[in-house]
């Protein structure tokens, strides 16, 4: 262990920690803020919110996105909702309960202090977004409406039809564009981060490539925020957008930022099953569907009857049977594994026998078709467009798919990585969800980080650097990084092999899904660890990228991202192999209860695994940040 993993958790009772921290932190006076340059990479919920807020406070902000508009970041695709401990329904919700649910839902692998802060801020987020004009669903009274979500027994999820992520992102995007108009934020679209520059152990800036012109450029700043999302696309088939990638956080890792819990990936239980080999991505159906839909498979193996021909007594509502208290609303990891178990047993449904039914017929009978249409209309339409089946008549077919990565850059309580001045927010950091994220919590975390946490903690970092200008971009470190970026591009373009980038990506995805997916074992992980490097060296020799680096070249962009995925995939397997326990989304078949539930080993693994880059070809070094649970008692999760 070489890194000093100081989590900087403030003292005091948990409910006061964030207030104490805010009071204890240094401030930058309004007239001094314009003297600080801040770079925000990514324009999703965390990035756009942080850039907009920092700009509004008066810092010189540059915001980078590889999209043609900040509004296209993948946060836009989140459907179901955002949690907040408002207790508007009077059903016993509170900050403490949201905190408790999140720690428990994360299978006790998250930092208590962070989660509590998240629960506190959830309330402010709803106020902020409602004031911005986010058209949340309303009751007839004009009050905000909520619904319930997996892993909880209260109704605390605010939503805007099935497009909550879109509406929240548009709110943040609009605030960002407001700041662009005001001149406080300089927006750089179609510009991708290709390296992070560190000088004297502190972040100095970034190197980017413009996707349309190929121009490689350096940007210096006092502080850099990475809000670049997660890395589910390492599996090729995931619910992430096609361009979502890990390059920014991976480059930071290679420059010295520790990577926390890389193996913690979430498999979302309700996605549309793959239909053929050409499938380019999987489409998620919001978890909110589980509120009214019932999940079942035929009791008969290999039942070829159409679902409406199968009588009730020959249907196995396996979630309701196994988990009577939570039923169809068990947390995602539990629901996913249960579906996989049914399909693996041979009770899968659909042409390829790769799904389970999600049935609305009871809900339609109880509530009427209109209510179901009002609640889920756009999801049902989307399903129909993709599958050509009408869920009002036949049950949906669903199957789990990779959806979210709880792992990410290790950050302290202030969201600073192990590189001073380099911060990470949203899905790009590892911080708040432990080993499993509850539904409707990703939006909450992205916005909490962006609107509230980063602006406060950045000031604390910057306050000490008032007299120091940022490292100029003519510093040799920038030249070196630029040269490395150009070399890498040149190398990819000159490989001249025979296979496309997508081919390699698909193969990598298969290795990861089969060996490091929903169920992992020493055997599969060891296998993956031998297959990935082999595929990677094949990639280096045999990939074919046409065109040049001086104009829009989508294969080249992809190739750079896939090259980083190869390295990350290895780290994920190493982490998964070392974590000899099952927890949340990380399920090791060697470690399960007699009923087949995940079995944690709190004695030996109650820590954050923060991996440190030690050079190409060397094994990464493991650093441990012990997790202490003072307020939530460690217990085997039970949703029965």
């Amino acid at each position: 262990m070489t890194l000093n993993l100081d989590s900087k958790i403030p003292d005091g009772p948990i409910a006061d920690k964030w207030d104490n921290q805010k009071f204890g932190m240094k401030l930058v006076a309004p007239h001094n803020r314009r003297r600080f340059d801040v770079i925000v990479v990514g324009s999703g919920l965390a990035g756009a919110a942080a850039a907009a807020t920092l700009g509004e406070l008066g810092y010189n902000v540059r915001c980078f996105t590889y999209h043609d508009s900040p509004r296209r970041a993948h946060s836009i695709a989140a459907q179901g909702g955002i949690n907040a401990a408002k207790n508007y329904k009077g059903d016993g919700d509170s900050v403490e309960r949201l905190f408790y649910d999140t720690v428990k839902g994360g299978d006790f692998r998250a930092r208590e202090a962070n989660v509590h802060r998240l629960a506190e801020l959830s309330v402010d987020i709803i106020d902020q977004c409602a004031a911005q004009g986010v058209p949340f669903a309303r009751e007839y009274s004009g009050l905000l409406d909520t619904r319930s979500f997996g892993g909880t027994q209260v109704s605390r999820t605010f939503y805007a039809r099935g497009q909550t992520g879109q509406q929240l992102l548009l709110g943040a995007y609009q605030s960002l564009m407001h700041q662009v108009d005001a001149g406080t934020v300089e927006l750089h679209d179609r510009t991708e981060l290709l390296d992070v520059v560190v000088v004297d152990g502190e972040v100095a800036g970034i190197v980017t490539r413009h996707l349309h012109t190929g121009a490689v450029q350096s940007w210096s700043a006092h502080a850099v925020v990475l809000a670049t999302g997660g890395y589910s696309n390492v599996f090729f088939l995931s619910t992430n957008a096609k361009h979502s990638n890990a390059s920014a956080i991976w480059r930071a890792y290679r420059k010295g930022a520790a990577f926390g819990n890389p193996c913690f990936t979430q498999i979302h239980p309700t996605c549309i099953p793959a239909s053929d080999d050409f499938q380019s991505k999987l489409t998620l159906m919001s978890e909110s569907l589980r509120n009214d839909g019932r999940i079942w498979v035929p009791t008969e193996f290999d039942d070829k009857r159409s679902p409406d021909q199968i009588p009730a007594e020959e249907r196995d509502y396996y979630l309701e049977r196994r988990y009577p208290a939570f039923g169809n609303l068990v947390p995602r990891d539990v629901a996913s594994r249960a579906a996989k178990a049914e399909v693996d047993r041979g009770r899968g449904v659909g042409e390829l026998k790769n799904g389970v039914y999600l049935d609305f017929s009871d809900a339609i009978a109880r509530l009427g078709r209109d209510v179901i249409e009002e609640r889920y209309g756009n999801l049902i339409e989307m399903y129909e467009r993709i599958t050509d089946e009408d869920p009002y008549k036949v049950p949906m077919r669903i199957y789990p798919a990779v959806h979210y990565t709880m792992g990410g850059l290790w950050v302290d309580y202030n969201l600073q990585t192990t590189i001073p001045g380099l911060f990470a927010g949203g899905e790009a950091n590892f911080s708040d969800h432990g080993a499993n994220r509850l539904g409707a919590s990703a939006l909450m975390q992205g916005l909490a980080d962006g609107y509230f946490v980063l602006p406060a903690t950045l000031a604390n970092y910057l306050a000490d650097r008032l007299s120091r200008p940022p490292v100029p971009t003519d510093h040799p470190a920038f030249a070196e990084a630029e040269a490395a970026v150009r070399d890498r591009t040149k190398q990819l373009l000159s490989t001249g092999g025979t296979r496309t980038v997508d081919w390699f990506h698909r193969e990598l995805g298969k290795i990861m899904w089969d060996n490091c997916g929903m169920a992992r074992s020493t055997e599969t992980l060891t296998k993956a660890l031998s297959e990935i490097p082999a595929l990677r060296s094949e990639f280096e020799k045999d990939v074919r990228i046409l065109g040049d680096g001086d104009s829009l070249n989508q294969s080249l962009e992809k190739a750079g991202r896939v090259a980083d995925f190869f390295e990350l995939a290895e780290l994920m397997c190493i982490d998964a192999l070392h974590r000899e326990e099952s927890c949340g989304g990380h399920f090791r078949v060697e470690h399960q209860t007699p009923e087949g539930e995940a079995e944690r080993d709190d004695e030996n693994f109650s820590y954050v695994a923060a991996w440190e880059f030690t050079g190409d070809g060397n094994a990464p070094a493991l650093n441990k940040e012990p997790l202490e649970f003072e307020y939530v008692h460690l217990a085997q999760r039970s949703y029965k």
Partner: protein
Amino acid sequence: MDLTLKVWRQAGPGTEGRIETYDVPGISEEMSFLEMLDVLNDRLIVEGREPIAFEHDCREGICGSCGMMINGQAHGPQKGTATCQLHMRKFSDGDTIVVEPWRATAFPIVKDLVVNRSTFDEIIAAGGYISVTTGAAQEANLTLVPKAVADTAMDAAQCIGCGACVAACPNSAAQLFTSAKLAHLNLLPQGQPERWDRTVRMVGVMEQYFGSCTNHGECHEACPKEISLDFIAYMNRDYRKAIVKNRSLIAQP
């Protein structure tokens, strides 16, 4: 099924483009339109020909990246569907499919089917927001929003900014895009203080780049979110009021 594809190919912003023809055999009905293009691109790369550049990202109809003119219709033949969610079952064996980029002066072509839609961001920057200092917002339930208002605002706010409305409009007008954002914010109580300035400024920027509305209704037909023409009327009304009304009295009934 076997298809013939005619695709607009253009190397860069200033260069000449042309339609090129490709045979695309063995396409499955389950594929999405973009997956069909993926298959073609994979083959082109293996054959040593440059793949077709096209924008895409989420592939679930929400990010608004993708968009192309398919057989003379923005986003192709299926109503209320973005290109990424258009599936090949909407075509038949032996079809010839013509694919062009969005065309409008305000959307210059970057490469092949990729166009630059930054002008949309400029319209938003000109007032497509409600100013709230972060952290200074009041308790959310203090502002009541009647359900009908929230629902209509949501109908408008669904816009994904793909540009199909402009592409489909014979005048390359951006009224549907602009009016959807205006309606989203102008309908809500939170949006009232900035309502009139917002309307004047956003319309002003829109008119710098885009054509005028002749009420054809093509935009609504092309819109993957089926945003209503009513919002264009609301915008016209608000603009009229913004110019004519005495704004200091506007809070009075």
